[in-house]
């Protein structure tokens, strides 16, 4: 671009020189003088700026820095300082966080052992050999000795009679009653074992709470809620077992009622037959 401009300028000067030198009349010379003046007016360099306006521009930049930007930065600093103070003094004060952890630790020390002692008091009360054996196996929180439970149950409550010793309906009902009773005793052994593990989970969560930070506590609360769901599910399983047991008891009584009704009908019929013979 600069080269092109210089070329144009050189050509213009050469043409102007030639025209001035070769002008023949005063009129031509006057026209060329005017053309030269016009070229000077159009192509001449712009007037220089005064030094005062540059200083004014620089001063205005300084004013912006010292005014607007400085105020904005001070405001941001002030807001962030306030936020920092809010975090450290109101939202997550370290003293209160430590106090909360200390409270958890103190409560663990005060209650855990006491509750474990109460919960582990021996409740066994049977005095004879067979009931004592049954009671022991019923309450040992183990799940690997179900056969022993079945034997102890039979030793205490007797086995289902042989088919020749009792009528079929009674035998079936006895077996069902015994089965549901033993099922539930087994379920209770499982449940006792599950209780021990649930208490262990609760202890673990509480121990972790004694060392938690505000940011790690949500994990503990969430897993505690999940543990509550699981605990609730176990409660439901026990309720289901209780439902079976209560239903079986009701069914047993109802079966006796049915048999009573049938026997009464039979007796009525026989009395009627006897009276008719007379």
């Amino acid at each position: 671009m600069v080269f092109l401009t210089n070329m144009m300028f050189g050509l213009f000067l050469a043409a102007f020189f030639y025209a001035i030198v070769s002008a023949r009349t005063r009129r031509q010379l006057l026209a060329l003088t005017l053309a030269g003046a016009l070229a000077v007016a159009v192509l001449g360099p712009p007037p220089a700026q005064a030094q005062g306006s540059l200083v004014a521009v620089i001063q205005s930049v300084l004013n912006v820095i010292n005014g607007l930007i400085k105020t904005a930065l001070n405001s941001i600093n002030s807001v962030r300082t306030t936020v920092s103070n809010l975090y450290q003094q109101a939202t997550w004060p370290v003293a209160l966080i430590n106090q909360a952890r200390a409270t958890v630790t103190q409560m663990i020390a005060r209650y855990r052992g006491l509750m474990q002692n109460i919960f582990s008091i021996d409740l066994k009360s049977a005095t004879l050999q067979n009931p004592a054996a049954l009671e022991t196996v019923m309450r040992n929180h183990q799940t690997g000795d179900f056969a022993s439970l079945t034997n102890s149950f039979a030793n205490t409550y007797g086995a289902v009679p042989a088919a020749t010793a009792v009528n079929a309906a009674d035998r079936t009902m006895m077996d069902m009653d015994d089965a549901l009773a033993v099922d539930n005793l087994k379920t209770l052994k499982e449940s006792d074992f599950a209780d021990d593990l649930t208490l262990q989970a609760a202890d673990n969560i509480e121990d972790a709470a004694s060392q938690a930070a505000p940011g790690s506590a949500p994990f503990l609360t969430a897993t505690a809620v999940v543990a509550s769901i699981q605990s609730q599910a176990l409660t439901q399983k026990m309720l289901a077992a209780e439902l079976r047991q209560e239903a079986a008891r009701l069914a047993h009584e109802n079966a006796l009622r049915k048999r009573g009704a049938t026997l009464t009908g039979d007796v009525n019929a026989q009395i009627l037959n006897l009276l008719q013979r007379k």
């Binding site: 975090y87 079945t150 549901l180 969430a222 769901i229 609730q232 439901q236 069914a251």
Partner: protein
């Protein structure tokens, strides 16, 4: 050399003869020619510019740099506080690992609760027990037939009075419904344990900011579990209510029977 001197003389002669043209040419050339370059060191304008730029630089350093440094210091303080007090990575990792431990414990519980407890010894009772303990809602439909096989059917109208048949049927219905509900509740409890394990898995992989969302979901599951527990408790209460009603019906029947016997004795005495 002579030629050059002669040309010069001719040129000067031309200039002398054409003074006006020469003046016009000189004026145009001098006005259109490029201006002189100003020195960086000697021009006063550059000195002022340099001073001003230096002032701007020092102002930027003190005002903006200082302000930003203050903000940086506060931000570092906040960041340090958040990393060491609020969300320490080590404690977050510890909490996530605890969730894993709790999962292991409850998986162990789930395993224990699946140990079979079947105890019946006769074919009919074994089948019935298998259905009752199946935890499979698809087997609920088989309950009624197997219940009748073990506990008998409602007596026919010849064998029992209508009132006895009503009580017997109602009692069987309550007992069977409770047994069916027990199968349902077992199945639901299994699903709850499964969902709870999945939720624990999510918590293990969560961030402190996302854990409360999962906790909210767990809370919802807990509410649901409570509802199922209430439903099971309701069925238990129904069974006991029917049992109480049966006891009452027995007393009522006894009273009615006693009145009937009294009437018959009275009739016999009258005949004699």
């Amino acid at each position: 050399m002579r030629n050059m001197i002669a040309s010069l003389k001719q040129g000067l002669w031309w200039v002398w003869r054409h003074k006006v043209r020469t003046v016009v040419l000189l004026l145009v050339v001098s006005l259109l020619g490029p201006g002189p370059v100003r020195s960086q060191f000697l021009d006063p304008c550059c000195a002022i510019l340099a001073t001003s730029l230096s002032t701007i630089s020092s102002t930027l350093s003190s005002v903006i740099g200082g302000g930003l440094n203050s903000i940086l210091s506060v931000e570092k303080n906040i960041s340090n506080f958040e990393q060491t007090v609020v969300w320490p990575q080590k404690l977050i990792t510890q909490a996530q690992s605890l969730v894993g431990n709790v999962r292991v414990i409850f998986n162990q519980i789930q395993g224990v609760m699946r140990v079979p407890v079947n105890s019946a010894s006769l074919p009919a009772t074994q089948q019935f027990e298998q259905v009752l303990l199946s935890r499979d809602p698809n087997q609920i439909a088989q309950t009624s037939a197997q219940y009748s096989a073990v506990y008998g059917a409602v007596p026919n109208p010849i064998a029992a009075s209508p009132q006895t048949r009503d009580i017997t049927d109602m009692t069987d219905a309550a007992a069977q419904a409770a047994m069916k509900r027990a199968i349902e509740i077992d199945a639901l409890a299994d699903l709850e344990l499964q969902a709870a394990d999945e939720i624990n898995q999510s918590i293990q992989a969560a961030a402190p900011g996302s854990a409360p969302i999962i906790e909210a979901q767990a809370d919802a599951w807990l509410v649901r579990a409570n509802a199922y527990t209430q439903s099971a408790t309701a069925d238990l209460m129904r069974v006991r209510a029917i049992d109480l009603a049966n006891a009452s019906a027995n007393v009522k029947n006894g009273a009615a029977n006693a009145a009937a016997v009294q009437q018959q004795i009275y009739n016999l005495l009258k005949r004699q």
